[in-house]
Amino acid sequence: MKRIVLLLVLPALLTGFSGVQAQDAPAITLTLAAYTTPREVYVEVIPLFEEYWLQETGQRVEFQASYLGSGAQSRAVEGGFEADVVALSLERDVTRLVDAGLITHDWQSNPYNGMVSTSLAVLVVRPGNPKDVTDWGDLARDGVEVLTPDPATSGGAQWNVLATYGAAQRGYVDGYSADDEGAYNFLVDWLSHVAVLDPGARDSVITYSRGIGDVLITYENEYFAGIAAGDEYDIVYPTSTILIENPVAVVDAYADAHGVREAAEAFVAFLYSDQAQAVFADKGYRPPVLQAADEEEETAEPGGGALWEESALDPDRFPPVEDIFTVAYFGGWDQIGGDFFGDDGIYTRAIAEAQ
């Protein structure tokens, strides 16, 4: 019996050793902890970086990528999941790692504030838009059933609440005064039309594709992901909406402990390269680097059509929106956490009043 085991194990051991010897450059491993929706992006970007890194340094790099809801992923890393790089959906989930002492460098020091991809909160409707939904205001109309994920379980769902509240507060929702009171009333009115609060953004899309609800509030990139997956629905751009910004950062403590800081930093930098940003654009995100390039191009030489066409930011695919604001409009995530989603926050009161 023992002999049989040895016979089985021996060749494996030998080939194992020879495998290591045959390799000129030792491989290093990078662990990426990402939220769920950009999986399609990283599946394509990671091989690009592996090739780039091999050419630059002669070193092979292997990836272990984990995809989980942003909040859960952030807490996992905080709790000891040793990821070298995190790609999360909200700044607040990175701030948690800064507070935990795991990220020690100024991760927002690049020109894009550490935000590797952006998107917009938009409306998705049934093909042909049977309920004639044209802007946020239609969410509060009689007979319109709305789907949005639960802000309590999905950090990403908080974008939707902020988008509608901000648009009303800034005077872009007809029938509501452009102030705190009007915005609050609008929030209450449309929340009373919500049929299902799914735990996550993807769950909401799945429920919608099962035929529940008239309008789904989601992100532009989720719309493109759904279309790519063969779902059929139309997109409606509101006049005013929030810019969704997704951060990426090196986790100093773990990258140093694993001795892979150089590669981890190179990977994060690579995500901002035109090559990687084009993948983001291809998957439906509005990549900040290409966007900035387009803006420069526009101001530098108006009508510089060639670059517009080459850039992935095709205005037919990513139409301009009249009014775009960011979380900074609400004073940043720290402020939003208490003001909107605390025990006595605006959303917490509104969802209670909506019932």
């Binding site: 909040g71 948690r96 609060l197 035929g211 529940i212 969802i351 019932q355």
Partner: protein, 284 residues
């Protein structure tokens, strides 16, 4: 003779200490295992829920969303339990009393809900009662009942998950029931219903109750199926486990633990009640 008796006595005595040792070892292992696997996690939740003091605990538990979530959970679990006790007893009675083709297959099917991941249960119910299905359209048009994303959906999910509890509690009692008693009652002229009410029912009542209560306790914590079928709207269709999950996701552990303590407390009382009932049945 005396000698032989003494030898026999010694032979019996000799291995005793060893037996005792292993007995203590077994007992110790079982107790430590119970402490580590069950008591410790329960204790941690209790201490975390009460960390902010009683007033903090009360604030967390008396939040309108928490109160409503607990109410939805308790009410749906109670409705499920009533249906489960009645239909479960009926099913067990039929399985024990009657012969019919396919009975063995049916009997095996009963345990299936224990083996199916509850997430799958949720998906099955969505496929069955989803808004595009004929069944949902019929219920909506004919009775104006919306099953999914409403409380009936929660009760249905719980019924599926807790299906075996009452049947599996009542069935063995019915099998063991002395057949002569009902037969005697019957030959003395008692009707079938009278026989059931006066002879069979008193014998199986403790099993019905303990099976129903165990199912109730199990239903309190159900998450996987409910998060899919309930709709999760606060103050309407959000259950306590889904509320707790939301609080955990939001990083509000004190609120999550406080509501968990309430659920644990109810479950503890219920299981203690079951235990007490089984004990009194043995003695009575």
């Amino acid at each position: 003779m005396q000698n032989a008796a003494r030898l026999e006595q010694e032979a019996v005595n000799a291995p005793r200490p060893q037996l005792d040792l292993s007995g203590w070892g077994l007992r110790g292992t079982a107790i430590v295992y119970l402490l580590v696997m069950i008591a410790l996690p329960v204790f941690v939740v209790f201490s975390s829920g009460l960390q902010a003091g009683l007033s903090g605990f009360w604030d967390n538990v008396s939040h309108p969303h928490a109160v409503s979530a607990l109410r939805v959970t308790l009410v749906t679990a109670a409705i499920m339990t009533v249906i489960n006790v009645v239909m479960g007893t009926l099913t067990a009675y039929v399985l024990v009393t009657y012969r019919f083709p396919g009975k063995n297959v049916l009997d095996a099917l009963i345990d299936l809900p224990f083996a199916i991941p509850t997430l799958v249960t949720g998906i099955m119910l969505v496929l069955l009662y989803g808004p595009q299905t004929a069944l949902a359209g019929f219920l909506q048009d004919r009775f104006d009942v919306r099953v999914l994303y409403a409380r009936p959906g929660i009760v249905l999910a719980l019924l599926f998950i807790c299906y075996p509890f009452v049947i599996r509690a009542v069935q063995p009692v019915l099998v063991q029931l002395d057949e002569r008693q009902p037969e005697a009652a019957y030959t003395l002229g008692a009707s079938g219903w009278y026989t059931f009410r006066r002879i069979v029912f008193p014998a199986i009542r403790p099993a019905m109750l303990s099976g129903g209560m165990l199912g109730f306790a199990r239903a309190l914590g159900e998450f996987g199926a409910i998060v899919i079928v309930a709709g999760n709207i606060p103050l309407r269709t959000q259950t306590a486990p889904v509320y707790i999950y939301g609080k955990v996701e939001a990083g509000n552990m004190p609120a999550a633990s406080a509501v968990s303590v309430v659920l644990l407390g109810v479950a503890l009382i219920v299981t203690l009640g079951v235990d007490w009932m089984q004990r009194s049945r043995q003695h009575g």
